[in-house]
Point group: D2
Chain length 151, copies 4
């Protein structure tokens, strides 16, 4: 298991937030959001985050790069329901030369509903593993100063 940390339920531990309203199609016969949709919520938020930091997916694509998901983890704390507006809090948690990890917290009206982690690699569009872009490694280093040796 590559994923190395359990994300917190404190929104102040996250650097970015993105709002998503639950669609009816995302509910299931238990009357709540089906657990598979959280990975899509994380993904939409990740795309918004990368655009926010000035490196939208188009930049990856133009560089011939993709960032496949290597691992995912979700803790379903409280269910979400149709038409609720979720805030997806996101943190670039760490990066090595080959992989990076994102942490997520979903809240509704400030109440924690779900936490999660995704671990990503970097490949060429042909699928060959390659180094992460330097800006992403730098960004992770700046975002998580406490994890740098000597600090």
């Amino acid at each position: 298991m590559r994923l190395s940390s359990e994300p917190t339920t404190d929104p102040s531990d996250y650097e970015f937030a993105h709002r998503i309203r639950v669609r009816f199609v995302e509910t299931d016969a238990m009357g709540i959001v089906h657990h598979s949709n959280y990975l899509a919520y994380f993904e939409e938020s990740r795309v918004a985050y990368l655009a926010h930091v000035g490196h939208p997916f188009t930049e990856w694509r133009d560089a011939g790069l993709e960032s496949p998901v290597l691992e995912s983890f979700v803790a379903y704390r409280q269910p979400c329901r149709f038409d609720e507006v979720m805030t997806v809090h996101l943190q670039l948690a760490s990066a090595t030369r080959a992989t990076f990890q994102m942490n997520y917290l979903i809240t509704v009206d400030g109440e924690p509903r779900s936490t999660g982690v995704t671990v990503h690699g970097c490949t060429t569009t042909a699928g060959r593993p390659t180094r992460l872009p330097a800006w992403l490694v730098d960004l992770a280093a700046r975002r998580t100063p406490e994890r740098q040796p000597g600090v």
Copy 2:
């Protein structure tokens, strides 16, 4: 609107049948299958049908062809529920040189639940419209003799 016929609820009007068990993820908070899933059921059945007639999607791909959906129609007659085993009846209803139409009937224990139609074109993988494969036009002609002029 290209689609030209309303599919019947008589299974004997269909040439092929394919079974699918409803997944929990496909239900919604009304406790029934969400209406968007029927297009995926039709698609899975279409793929099975093309393999059955000896022209699997790999043959299309190897020929550099795709068959994008141009139109879809679904009539939701009675809902389907989690774990029900649906029979998707399928008929290649018609074909021109540029498009073909598939009719569908979904039954559970012989009871009609849904009918539908998809209309497909034929393009190169680059998206340029091209002629249907000859075998598909021939197949449609043989399947629907009553629709041919002079017969």
Copy 3:
């Protein structure tokens, strides 16, 4: 087939617009939005429209009512792609005492990509058909004056 009109590609024929950004999960191996997702886009927009006219789904629920989809039609004119921002134009096209019809046009940067129709009934939460709420019949009458007899 209950659905009675083909929606136009002129945005000025629609009374309401709702924006949705294409998610990566909604794409398929042809590199475009999978055709089943348009029904979810229509649904999200319908929910936004009903809230906009002051009758959110919670009002339906509190009245013990649901509006199941009876029929759907989609014409896929041009594909949509990941991260494109779609505008879903919506029109309450007609209503009888038992059913109502919504028309949809999806544009990206003013270019028509897709049109569609959904036909809805009205049932109790137990699934028994019942009359549409009066406000909805009135709303449809006001929205489509040209269709009223004697006008």
Copy 4:
């Protein structure tokens, strides 16, 4: 994090296998199965497993019970592609009085593609946590003798 073990890539470590053919709708613009679908594959296989051991979901429902997913983990080792037939290997890995854990391995032609874990609770249909059914605790004990103290 409740989940306690990383599932192996050895099919002989699993007690049950279920086959699923990849649908086109499950692919994404990278040409592979979108990572969110694995949770649906695990779920379909879990439902088949519970029927196989003689306790289908209907038994849960008739007893007024549900088994919500509390946590999920997926390791995406090699991608799956459209029309591939996956074998989902499943193991009831452990159970306490309140939760149980399932391990999964997905192979195609014997090659490991993905592993995963789901952790489930047990609630009444009203959402109140309750004890697991006794048969499930017994089943887990019999399936994993090596994990019992003193054996």
